[in-house]
Symmetry: none
DNA sequence: AATGAATGAGTCTTCATTCAT
DNA sequence: CATGAATGAAGACTCATTCAT
């Protein structure tokens, strides 16, 4: 009896936490971190101030949790992309395309990642930089995996150019009005091509 | 006589404005936009609140002015780079290198441009996006200038990838501890090569 | 059977109440009334919020109960001191010494009584003042018991001076670092002597 | 011109600071530290929140400033009392009487000193304890000044008993309803007598 | 022109207490 | 009897901006 009850509670707790995260995703994406107040998140999620601070240590913690979750979903996408191909170069292309498509299909998350997370204090910046850095490191690893002689320049620099190209393309696409946006798949493919040529392929 | 006096006053006015801008540059770069308060800028520049609001409409205006100034200095650099070469591709390479070098030699300005300007309200974002966009447009123009057949893909996408690569390289370089930073000229050159290969050269 | 069960339950109830009181004693003494939160007491006593409010009407009630308990233990000490002597003056001396020794051996309780209980609202202050007042009244009674002519001044004032001297000596002793504290028995004796001289003995 | 203006401003600043301190004195004495909110002090002094934080770092700082001021006024009284007599014992008596009379004529200040300052965090307690300790030290010094053989017991303990007697007498007197209060001068004299006898005089 | 004291709306955060399970 | 999630009123404090001097 006790266990069943507990289990139900756990479900409810998870559900309420979700409601907070979802409300926060929308608000942070629309208004930015600073312009989003805790009362707004509380109102949007139909909960109470006290409940908010039961689930999150403070506003910053909420943002970090959100960022971590987005990071996980992103990693998942990248893994799937890698697993969908066997050859390194094909994997790299697939990864770029998948990443671009995921971000432009989840504009709120993308905005939080590429726009909002910047210029905030301590833990937040760390978390966001880490997400981008981990991408850069993957690319770097892949570059090192290529048959000898394929790529001769500094792979770290190339990896960051690579990542920068993708994210800037996302920013560009998201910045366009809805009716002027080219097909995501096409853009994704062009970004991938740019990057692959960039590394000499 | 009157003119001379006025002229002296204008000099003083310009000097004080400069002091505000310089103080703001350091503070915004070090602490970010939100964490920098008007009183801080006032204290740092050794002036008074009243004077501040005589020179700037408000805090946002200060940031925009700063951004505009940085934009001008950037444009100057880019123009010089273009004028230093005659061939389009050489100009494009020179531009990337010059941009990279300028930003890493002016880290406070770079930070303001690539880190702080994001996620802020209205006018600020617009100003910052415009600076980056104008770079992207230049690149795009250059791409279109190339002899027919040289570059066949969507030049707008490539231009954004190009710009993204440069700025991400700057972020990467600025994020490194001082003693681990590779020589700027080398990185600048690699970024330029990455981009040139990216557009098929 | 039923009785035995009930009895066991009552034992358990008493035990849990004790756990709350003990946890509260430590926390109130260490952190003060305001800085101690109900969740802290709950955590420290390994119980739950709900249980807390089953045993105590509210936080204030907890403090009052604690104070009453301390008051009872104090009264017990004083009674024993009185019973240990037959002559009034000897009883008064014994009382002061016993009181001092009891308080400095129970610093948490002492702190709650002489430091924390002050400056709090309504019921709490009343309870604490009453404990001190009852001491003062005992002293006053004793003074009146003395053979005529022994003590001629206002006994109420003297009684409060007497009590104030003891408590201030306790505060002083508790405020010293552990390694600089003189032997309690010696101080207790000096305080008693001071007071006895104070009333003309 | 500038100087005159500044001087006027300084006067105004001092006046406003006074208004805050006066409002705080009443409120702290009536309601205690915790029950007094910054908005209350602001309202009572007819000022604004911002002004409050212009003059005081925070609520605690206000209390400490108040305490320091009371400490100064107290010290002034004690000095006058000492100067009014030449003989040590007469000075000690005068001091007790002056202190008692000052406190009962300034009940708000007395309450703040003997009631409210306890059980508060860090700086506040330190400040209050220091005020009482400095009295105790004066008494101790005086005791050591007495002709040899006059007082043989531990002067530190006696000094604290002495101080405790005075403050407890004040608490007692302030705790009485207005119409039951004996004449302050009489009580002051009795307290002094109690203490002098306490030290063997 | 310049100063800096004054304003007050707006935020985050805490915590005693309740009540559904 | 017990649990602990949920509530929400309340309070301290910040800071962009104004304006009397």
């Amino acid at each position: 009896m006790v266990y069943r009850t507990t289990s139900r509670m756990e479900q409810r707790k998870a559900a309420r936490r979700r409601r907070f995260l979802d409300a926060a995703t929308q608000l942070f994406a629309e208004r930015g971190y600073q312009q989003t107040t805790v009362p707004m998140v509380v109102a949007e999620s139909g909960s109470s101030t006290g409940a908010f601070y039961f689930y999150f240590a403070n506003k910053e913690d909420l943002f970090v949790q959100l960022l971590l979750e987005i990071g996980e979903r992103l990693a998942e996408q990248l893994n799937q992309a890698v697993e969908s191909e066997v050859e390194t170069l094909a994997q790299m292309r697939a990864t770029v395309e998948r990443l671009f498509l995921f971000l432009v299909s989840n504009p709120a998350e993308a905005r939080i990642l590429v726009l909002e997370a910047t210029s905030l204090s301590g833990r937040i910046v760390t978390t966001q930089v880490e997400i981008l850095e981990s991408h850069a490191r993957s690319v770097e690893q892949a570059l090192k995996t290529l048959p000898e002689g394929t790529y001769r320049a500094n792979p770290t620099v190339a990896a960051h150019c690579w990542v920068g190209a993708v994210y800037q393309a996302v920013r560009y696409w998201l910045g366009l009005p809805d009716d002027k946006r080219p097909a995501p798949a096409v853009v994704a493919s062009e970004v991938a091509s740019f990057n692959l040529r960039g590394i000499g392929q």
